[in-house]
């Protein structure tokens, strides 16, 4: 219900019976926001928050890169993100403010002796090319796809945990509901499903591949003063109202006054919720390794 038009990516109720997100805050201020890649869709046609620099001519950028490699990378790193002695230039305040080399030029030509930066006899045009290359570098990898392999667990131990201490077989079977799960989802999705039971929400980049399974909703039984019991999938509940959908789709709601009517909510994911404070990360990783093998 917090799914507001401007912040759809932050504000979605996540675990059916368990939670709510806070209203969107800013990043430093807030729940993480969807990275640029997916933000475009989430935000519709909204322009980026900050002006995008118009791209410089490719030959100028290429020239600037060449000059940077030859003159600057020794201290500032080959990608300008900081080296042994020189700071990260991509996020440097002066580079962020600079438009076409006008702020960078005096620094390059005069050096900063106090900080050990020598001066360089580069022309204004050359420095403008370096600036153009610097400005072409992505500021942050926020939202960039991750290619890192998260599979570090031990599949054998995962299997033992699945059949033993984890008590996963109470509800699940690798030949039943989980058959072939390793072929359906990428490891990160499987790992998150292990913990959430299917009701999680990814706040970052969306993985490729199949959509996640839909989590079974909580159910509710309402005992009316007459003794009649009305059951269905929980629609919503507050201190004042409980609403449900019966098996045939009929929507019904009831006013609540103190403990009347009697309301019992059952969440099929309760085991997963109860596990949250108990998990060891190593067991999660082992289970992920095991289930990812089930192709």
């Amino acid at each position: 219900m917090h799914a507001r038009r401007r912040f759809p990516f932050v504000a979605t109720a996540i675990i059916a019976f368990a939670t709510s997100m806070c209203a969107p805050q800013s990043p430093a201020q807030v729940p993480p926001r969807t990275p640029q890649a997916t933000q475009a869709t989430a935000r519709g046609n909204r322009p980026p928050d900050y002006p995008v620099r118009p791209p410089a001519p490719p030959e100028q950028v290429a020239h600037g890169e060449q000059l940077f490699r030859g003159n600057c990378s020794f201290c500032h790193g080959s990608d300008a993100r900081g080296g042994e002695t020189g700071p990260n230039l991509v996020r440097a305040q002066v580079v962020l403010t600079d438009q076409h080399g006008e702020l960078i030029t005096p620094i390059v030509q005069n050096g900063i002796p106090a900080r050990g930066m020598p001066k360089f006899a580069l022309s204004v045009a050359d420095i403008a090319a370096i600036a153009a290359w610097l400005h072409s570098q992505p500021l942050s990898d926020r939202g960039a796809p991750s290619n890192l392999d998260i599979l570090v667990g031990n599949a054998k131990q995962g299997e033992a945990y699945f059949n033993g201490a984890g008590r996963c077989t109470q509800c699940h079977s690798v030949t039943g509901d989980l058959a072939g799960i390793g072929g359906k989802y990428e490891p990160k999705t499987i790992q998150n499903l292990i913990v959430s039971g299917g009701a999680g929400i990814r706040l970052g980049r969306q993985p490729a591949g199949a959509a996640r399974p839909k989590a079974p909703p909580p159910t509710v039984a309402v005992t009316l003063p007459s003794g009649q019991i009305v059951k269905g999938d929980l629609d919503h509940i507050s201190a004042f109202v409980v609403a449900l959908r019966e098996a045939d789709g009929t929507y019904r709601s009831f006013a609540r006054h103190d403990s009347v009517p009697k309301v019992v909510v059952t969440n099929p994911l309760q085991w997963h919720i109860d596990m949250l404070p108990k998990w060891r990360d190593a067991d999660i990783h082992d289970l992920t390794a095991y289930l990812s093998m089930l192709k």
Partner: protein
Amino acid sequence: MTRTGKLLLLIPFCLPNGSLGGQGLDPALLTKPATDSWPTYAGDYSQRRYSSLAQIDAANVRHLSLAWVRRLTAGPSGGEGGVFGPPASPTITGGVAENPVTIPGSTSGSPRLSGSILQVNGILYVSSPDNAWAIDALDGHVLWHYWWKSRGGTHIGNRGMAMYGNWLYMETPDDYLVSLDAKTGTERWHKEIADFNQQYFSTTAPVVVGDHVLVGTGDDLDSPGFLQSFDPTTGDLQWKFYAVPMNKGDPGLETWASLDAARHGGAQVWMPGSYDPETHLYIFGTGNPTPAYTAMLRGPLDAHTNLYTCSVIAVNVDTGKMAWYYQTSPNDTHDWDATQPPVLVDGVFQGKPRKMVMQASRNGYFFVLDRINGEHLLTTKYSDAANWAQGVNAKGQLVRNPEKDNTVAGSLVSPDNGGATNWFPPSYDPQSGLFYVVLRELYAMYYLTNKDPRMLVGLGGSEQDVVGSLGTSIAAIDYQTGKLAWKYRFEGSGGGATGLLTTVGGLLFANDGVGSLVAFGLQGRKPPVPLWHAHIGSIENAAETYTVDGRQYVLVTAEGSVYAFYLQ
């Protein structure tokens, strides 16, 4: 609601307290507990959000009903009225952008009203990103609307305005402080307060203290945080306090791996602070260190605590000099800032009278400090779920468990990024001695997405998946022990994270997260009882209360509308 003919009869300037000359804010109001007005962000400087108004109480609250509702529209056509409605109100346009960036909620449509609303002499002053309104508190009629043409910036919210005499102060996401004439909404001046190129964005409510307008700002790139003080009349800068070391020799530099790291270290001041008139100390919280999700380049060693990030800081309001600080989370790696409202409480602590400041921090821990000197008095965990710390050190600070950092394989961590709490204002009730805060107990898998720390800038390098929750609650913390007297868990998916209000009438107002403003009857150390509710949709801010024309009102926003309730 009351869009009837009688509205047409109302002359916009016929205000409860009469003359136009009486519209200004008497600064003396600011140092008193919130009563008939709501003149600053939290009602008063203490940020207790506790009202001594007693008209509405636990016995009669079930008769609370709608006084009026005013739906607002952002952007150039954001006034009110027309041929078939009440008299049209003017929209005044400001801003430096020739071609304003189109942003729903700012340039058109329904605004997000998550800030505090000022009420001074019967007029409400409402703000949202790039928009401000003056509204008659008696019937919701819009007197004027101001719209700022934006050059962009993160439009995450606006926490409200400040007032000094007849002048209002508002920050814009594209980093201006704008001063408006409260009578007409016309602009007096605007001043640039931060560098847009460094991706600062300004959302917070300024706070007026004496002849100072205290202005914070925000940033999600690796830029340094600061608090500034401006002259309320001229808008000239009086002082600027950097929350990280900026030069060689600055105190705290030894807590950073390098000067360059410190100068890019964050500590944004994006929430309003509290003010103690006795000591002249303005007390506020600072944001997380940046890059947010790795300490490798800014704090590889234990000594690298990254001052003054994630800290509660007291500055002398006249000089801008820091009197003391207390860091709640040394070397944070989860973007859990300590900007949550520091609440000022005078009381007895362990048998001794103390002037205290308390914070329920985003990291899941509650802190009590002596606000005269910053002495640490108490640290306790108010979130059962929080699992990221391996202990508390001798200073009462949390010690991070590195296994719960962002990791390549993923770490199951609580709180989630949103935190155990966040911007939503808590409330302190002196009758019960309890500190109430909305508590979120969510878990997320935290993944490191890049092994090269140099690639992690700002909020880069992390991917997080919320994977579960123990629920959202109102926690009542006994500051004497730090223990919870009770925890009221919202049912269902509920748990409105927009803040709290308590009153001497034994009431606590909260958002239940499923569309209702709820009035709870407080029962001391027993859990509260829901007594009244109004289903008005997604609630956006913390409720406020004040009197107009002798009647007590409760004010709250939902879905771009302002709702006023009173006893019929």
